[in-house]
């Protein structure tokens, strides 16, 4: 299988791919792009709708006073995106007051008016009047101090010591501990989630990118008729192997470049990460990831090359590409669903099925402890997939690359399998 011809073909593919602008840009820009997206998201979220004037009107004088003293401490005063105006009015006065402020509410000079009736001391129900009453971000920030005042007011008449009040006010703080075989129980942070998300995303991008790159060159060779010159020197099998290995090596190299910062961050203490973000990844896991990725490249690049051989121009090939895109995208979404629930049964099964195992298993490994037999099974499934698809893919490729003219139908492609070549 490996002879001077295959090696010459691989060398050519590497030279063409590694030095292509697309490859260099993608390898460098993707990490920048990924962090960029996160940055942009945080940046946009940080914008509040300018300054919001919110009037808080309490029926009780005491509540209004308490609010004034407490709101002074809370954070929205400090960054002053919300300007609270606190008053007290009776229920009857309030109704008139809202009506009189209608104009200002509509022009959004006042974002909203909150009314705290005395009945809130029994049922904690308050009212919010606004042009856009569903401003979650604003209400979320303001209901905390109000709750605090109401609770204090309620309990002040009940003679309960301050310390006990403090306890009652605390919410539950969950510390997650991961139970793993043969390891000490330790606190689990978000590291697994981040890794899982990262692996799924990189796999997804890289398989699609390498796959379509190879498909392009196959189509190009076919439409430029280079393939006939090549076939006078090499067999179609050698040509296909050279092409796929060339792309697989390129992809692997790209993945190593992408993963190396992760590995450096995970394995050294040079970078200070927040306590609950621990990138817990071992050398064996990295090795597994790369082997798994390599198998994935063989499978998917092989499929893309096969599709490329059927068509003579990229436009036609688009239609042949979607079944393979689905084989990559569906597992990708399954991986994403695992981030919500790592024990999702669909994901559990998908991590051991042909095609989806490639993408789902690494994400699953980052989130839960996968028994060794499952890892082995999924690897065996992947290897078996390679052996199962290549005789068929090779045959289609063999016939396809020399088939020019009319765009073939799927039934014709199936007939090719019976051709004697």
């Amino acid at each position: 299988m490996f002879n001077y011809r295959v090696i010459a073909l691989i060398k050519r593919e590497l030279r063409e791919k590694l030095f292509s602008k697309a490859f260099i840009l993608m390898t460098v820009l993707l990490p920048i792009f990924m962090f960029g997206i996160i940055g942009v998201q945080t940046f946009i979220m940080s914008f509040d709708s300018e300054k919001s004037v919110v009037e808080i009107i309490a029926e009780s004088d005491r509540i209004a006073d308490n609010l004034r003293s407490i709101i002074g401490e809370s954070s929205f005063i400090k960054d002053s995106t919300i300007i609270p105006i606190i008053m007290h009015l009776s229920k009857l006065q309030f109704d008139d007051y809202v009506n009189s402020k209608e104009e200002e509410l509509l022009t959004e000079e006042i974002t909203g008016i909150i009314f705290i009736p005395n009945s809130a001391l029994e049922d904690k129900k308050i009212q919010y009047y606004s042009k856009t009453p569903k401003n979650m971000r604003l209400l979320e920030r303001i209901d905390n101090p109000i709750n605090k005042v109401l609770v204090e007011e309620y309990f002040s008449s009940k003679n309960i010591p301050v310390e006990e009040l403090q306890y009652a006010r605390m919410s539950v703080d969950v510390s997650s501990f991961k139970i793993a075989e043969g390891e000490e129980i330790k606190e689990e942070g978000y590291g697994g989630l981040i890794l899982s998300y990262l692996f799924s995303f990189l796999l997804y991008i890289s398989l699609l990118m390498m796959g379509s790159m190879v498909m392009q060159t196959v189509i190009q060779e076919k439409s430029n008729r280079i393939v006939e010159v090549l076939l006078s020197s090499v067999t179609s099998k050698e040509l296909m192997i050279g092409k796929i290995l060339g792309a697989a090596i390129t992809g692997l190299l790209q993945m190593v470049i992408w993963l190396s910062p992760v590995i450096v961050v995970a394995s050294t203490s040079w970078f200070m990460l927040p306590g609950d973000v621990v990138l817990d990844i071992t050398f064996i896991q990295v090795a597994y990831l790369l082997v798994n990725f390599f198998l994935g490249l063989l499978i998917f690049v092989g499929l893309f090359a096969t599709v490329g051989s059927i068509f003579e121009n990229p436009q036609d090939a688009q239609s042949g590409m979607w079944p393979i895109m689905m084989l990559i995208m569906i597992p990708f979404f399954i991986s994403m669903s695992m981030i919500e629930n790592p024990t999702n049964p669909v994901a559990n099964v998908a991590s051991m099925l042909p095609f989806s195992a490639i993408i789902v298993m690494p994400a699953k490994m980052a989130l839960v402890d996968v028994p060794l037999w499952q890892v082995l099974l999924s690897t065996i499934v992947n290897v078996a997939t390679v052996f199962a698809i290549f005789p068929v893919a090779g045959k289609i490729y063999r016939v396809g690359i020399m088939m020019t003219g009319k765009r073939p139908s799927w039934t014709e492609v199936i007939k090719w399998l019976k051709y004697k070549y």
Partner: protein
């Protein structure tokens, strides 16, 4: 001795029988012309020789052994539809094609540069293929078939798209390779080239080999009582003359067959007496073009004439 033999090969595509039981052999140190109209089966035959298509039946042997991948590395092949990697540089392209044939190193690089010089392309060594003119791309492709010092050259439609100067350079290289004992097989539908260069020919039509042998034998067999005539004037008076067997107009020349050898002089006298200006009068001779047209049928005359 026949080194390269094609034995009873056939190939069908669906209902179309592209090549039908074709056999011919190519002796050492000869130039073999595979002649035929467009779609006659030349390219399919050549592709089967190159293992690009698998024959439905029959085989191709080289030195008595079934021609496989090993054979391929001994052949320099120029396909009818040329193709090169557009983004690759000229020298890089040449070295790549030599490498997949198993040849690399300083000698190959030197040889590549020599050939580029010969074809006046030395200064384009580091240009991208896409920046070359079509003719120059053609030359690069031709060089790529020679670099690995092949024993056999198979050239499909060798001269298509070349100007006379480059045609001449190529012709000389081919004759030089013949001197060195290489086997050269080329296909063409341009008879003048074939006539000029080939020792052996085979004419293929509708997938079948119609004529096969040395050019000299084939000509001798058909030239008896044949006159190849170039003239100006009117020869219509010959139409019903009793000594004439038939007259074929081939455009450039007219082929006239007389009934008996003794009538050749009579014909010449007849032409002179009728004030026809005779420019060329080859007795007992026949051009390859005439043989070709007689073999593959009248319907192809138009097509061949305008090539």
């Amino acid at each position: 001795m026949a080194l390269l033999e094609v034995k009873n090969i056939s190939k069908s595509f669906g209902n179309l029988k592209a090549v039908d039981n074709a056999s011919f052999s190519v002796p050492a140190g000869s130039i073999f012309g595979l002649l035929g109209r467009n779609g006659a089966g030349k390219t399919t035959t050549i592709r089967m020789m190159m293992n690009i298509y698998l024959p439905d039946s029959g085989e191709v042997t080289f030195r008595g052994i079934n021609a496989g991948t090993d054979f391929n590395s001994k052949v320099g092949y120029l396909p009818e539809e040329r193709g090169l990697y557009k983004k690759m540089k000229v020298l890089e392209t040449l070295l790549f094609f030599a490498e997949i044939k198993g040849k690399k190193g300083r000698n190959v690089t030197k040889l590549a540069k020599d050939y580029l010089k010969k074809f006046d392309l030395a200064d384009r060594m580091n240009s991208k293929i896409e920046d070359l003119s079509k003719g120059n791309q053609q030359k690069v492709q031709f060089i790529s078939t020679l670099l690995h010092d092949p024993e056999v050259l198979i050239l499909d439609e060798l001269f298509s798209g070349l100007d006379p100067i480059n045609t001449n350079i190529m012709k000389n290289i081919i004759l030089e390779l013949k001197e060195r004992g290489k086997i050269i097989l080329f296909s063409t539908h341009v008879m003048s080239f074939a006539e000029m260069m080939c020792d052996h020919i085979a004419i293929i039509d509708h997938g079948k080999i119609k004529v096969n042998g040395t050019l000299a034998d084939i000509k001798a067999e058909r030239s008896h009582c044949n006159i190849s005539l170039n003239y100006s004037g009117d020869i219509s008076f010959l139409q019903n003359n009793p000594i004439i067997k038939n007259i074929s107009d081939y455009g450039n020349s007219v082929g006239i067959k007389v009934k008996e050898e003794g009538q050749i002089q009579q014909l010449l006298k007849l032409l002179v007496d009728n004030n026809v200006e005779v420019k060329k009068f080859d007795a007992n001779d026949i051009s390859l073009e005439e043989i070709f047209i007689d073999t593959v049928g009248e319907e192809s005359v138009e097509e061949v004439k305008f090539v």
